[in-house]
Symmetry: C2
Subunit: 491 residues, 2 copies
């Protein structure tokens, strides 16, 4: 397997597209903007799902499932929500096809036109709050903390595998609370849960913060977010958690009786992460040789490749490797022993490098004689010879070390790419030449934000949580500002 | 919580609908034919998924994800497939809404009409085989054994929760093989995997067999099925596995180079089970008091209800119960200690009976003094007092016994409801009065099958696997027949 990957330096965007396809994560389908998530990519997503699901349940959430379709009228009920989501969406207008009368094939049956069009869900606040009206009567029914794993569709004009696709997979949490405070606390908690997952499992450092009014979710009063930095200096929003106030409760008339017997509107949150995280994973760690996967999410953590001439040698190696595979698996490590005789060791080495398998063990005739394995780690590409007696301990230590090392590397990269600037000229220069996050003072108005976006393509990624309060002046207008915000060009 | 369930004897169908809603499994949504699967129902489905997924992986399958939308032209490529699926489906014709010019709300934007309509997948053979063409070149790429967990839509006119809904959740396996024999073996294997799951986990006995030509999946050469019997004497198809021959490979031009270098079409299977299984689960075991859940799939296996006056008594009980909860959980048993002070014990007893929790422990002041628990089992409603020292062993034994007992009860019911008949008059009488499976000789023609269906509403559920070969004559036409087939009215 030749890799023939475009290098990152040459064309980062091309490198990404090629890598996602060649490493068998995903590919474009025959349906515009919709991707096929291939088994290797899906195995990573499954590991993400399993861990996130565990964390959601530990914080008291239950899973449920709501309809794929949303009646058009539902979308219209929350004014800003419809502005944000009703525009680019898949609209179901008919429920039957028929044979064309001229025998030319099958056509839409005009007799089967829906009275009201159905929208394929771009997000489920409306259908869920329409349901919550039936589920919530009293304070005893609160809080209601539900999550859904689902597919959603947003009709994007320019799509890229994982980063922006018409259909994508995600989870969406939707909670209902008796008080504003409790809902805000929930929204903040989920931002922290996301940050913990993305940092500890994906090895991707994030900055927590809130969005400006113009970058908020359509229908939210506050959007909390975690922002990551990719290797090309562009930011990527890795997860958002919204405090929705009483907007959806009012739109769908969801009230509850308080302990004191009063009728009040319910407070809401929603929060989600999607298969977009796969893009963040690829773009944070991978290199010109292929994927670099964090051991905690790698479908195959260790691959063992035999190097042999003739079946006798292979048999001797397999006899040695068999018990090792068992021992590693007993420790919960996923191991693949690749004894295919249709491919050469060099081909296999290339393939597992491309696929980002964290640890590779190779064993040949000489290793057999010396009682050793050749151990290679994917993150640094370092190799060493290790005594077979110590191999399990070595592998365990390596998996931990790789997880730690790629995270630290990403932290170091980010630290080098947060630049503090005090003038707009400096800002433009950094955004254009160096990239990364730029920390600057801003006057808090959407007008200035728009101007900066228009002139530099940089947006305010977040107002960092617990940012230092300092007196300053907006780099564009010179108006007073009390804290810096983070700008970047973004995916 | 009053149950107020219609009894099965009174109106089985009403009983089912009420029970599904009242026990919090699912409910109808505001979208015609689409259901909301509520947290308690979804928790059961998750347990089903987890076990099935494990069994699929153990038999060498990997998960992947394919697009929700299928271009209209794809559906047309396999002639019998389009007949079966293109007719009642959700058709996406536009990709944008806009504000109406008269300010009346949002309307479909006619400028955003798709060149080719997209169908919301009713099943994914076509989009998957269009993808497989790119994945399969040589015998080295085979077998390809992939499964997908997904939502699908079939526009049903008459819908019922779980049993027949416009949108439902399912898994669909799609495999590709180098030889007919291997594909047939795969299709048969998955029928056996389904049977094992449905019998061992759901406690629902099934009959394995093949469908007649007219009941086959659209595009299949052979459909294997497992058929279950509900308490009202109607059959329910619990899972199907199809041998697709080379039909889809030919329709989508999927060829592979054999070891000898020849180009041949690939052989295919597909197989699926859906949330319909939830309906089978409810209708096999439940009674007039509510759900009866098999311990292996029950979200809560044991509930503990304290019976107390005043907080002192509750504290004393909680002190006793705390370590028991821990001990049971350590054994992998899911336990809920319901110490809510907003509801009375009687209410709680009713609620957990309705929800089918297999084992209920109650503990009051006198139990505390005597060192006992009152133990109730949901399947037989029997109660006994058990010494606290033996309670863990007792609970473990009960969970196993309940799993075994409800399965045996279902087997006994079925044994009483398979009737062998030799005349059409007898057949009609049994179908009408007793229900259940009827074993009879049939001449093997679709004409006779149709006539029987039309006259009695009974269909051939399956040609049982390894059925005894015996000379007989068709009960309708008198033509010769070599084995009996199973008829029933069905869901």
């Amino acid at each position: 397997m030749g890799k023939n990957l475009t290098s990152r330096a040459e064309d980062y965007s091309k490198w990404y597209n090629e890598l996602v396809v060649k490493s068998d994560l995903a590919e474009n389908s025959g349906v515009r903007g919709c991707m096929v998530i291939k088994p290797y990519g899906y195995a990573i997503w499954e590991k993400m799902q399993a861990q996130l699901d565990k964390m959601f349940k530990e914080t008291g959430h239950e899973n449920a499932y709501f309809p794929l379709f949303i009646p058009k009228s539902y979308l219209s009920k929350e004014a800003s929500h419809v502005e944000g989501f009703a525009k680019e969406c898949a609209v179901v207008t008919h429920y039957r096809l028929k044979n064309a009368e001229d025998g030319s094939g099958i056509v839409v049956d005009e007799d089967a036109k829906l009275e009201e069009e159905l929208i394929v869900r771009p997000t489920s606040e409306t259908i869920i709050w329409d349901t919550y009206r039936k589920w919530i009567q009293s304070y005893r029914d609160l809080p209601l903390k539900i999550n859904q794993w689902a597919n959603v569709v947003r009709w994007e004009m320019r799509t890229r595998l994982f980063l922006r696709t018409a259909e994508f997979l995600w989870q969406e949490g939707h909670t209902a609370h008796a008080t504003r405070e409790e809902a805000v606390e929930e929204a903040e908690q989920m931002m922290h849960v996301y940050a913990e997952f993305v940092e500890d499992y994906m090895g991707v450092p994030v900055i927590k913060g809130t969005k400006t009014a113009s970058e908020r979710f359509a229908g939210a009063e506050e959007t909390y977010c975690i922002e990551a930095l990719m290797q090309d200096g562009k930011a990527l929003q890795a997860g958002t958690s919204h405090f929705l106030g009483q907007n959806f409760a009012k739109a769908f008339d969801v009230k509850f009786a308080t302990k004191e017997g009063q009728q009040e509107y319910v407070w809401a949150t929603s929060w989600g992460v999607s298969t977009r995280l796969m893009g963040a994973l690829v773009m944070t760690h991978s290199d010109d040789n292929g994927l670099v996967l964090p051991p905690k999410l790698a479908p195959i953590q260790v691959v063992i490749v035999p190097i042999y001439k003739g079946m006798d040698q292979l048999d001797a190696i397999s006899e040695k490797v068999g018990p090792l595979v068992k021992e590693l698996r007993a420790k919960g490590i996923s191991v693949k022993y690749d004894n295919r005789d249709t491919h050469k060791p060099g081909f296999k080495f290339n393939e597992y490098e491309l696929k980002g398998v964290p640890v590779r063990l190779a064993i040949g005739q000489r290793d057999l004689e010396n009682g050793t394995y050749e151990v290679a780690r994917r993150d640094t590409l370092e190799k060493e010879s290790v005594n077979a007696a110590n191999i399990v301990t070595k592998v365990e230590a390596l998996l931990e070390d790789i997880q730690r090392n790629i995270y630290q590397k990403a932290i170091d990269y980010r630290a080098e790419h947060i630049t503090q600037v005090d003038s707009y000229d400096e800002f433009k220069k950094v955004i254009e030449e160096k990239g990364g996050f730029v920390s600057a003072h801003w006057d808090g108005t959407p007008e200035t934000e728009d101007k900066i976006k228009e002139e530099t393509k940089a947006t305010i990624r977040c107002i960092p949580l617990h940012a230092e309060q300092e007196d300053g002046t907006c780099m564009v207008t010179g108006k007073p500002s009390t804290q810096r915000v983070l700008f970047a060009k973004a995916y």
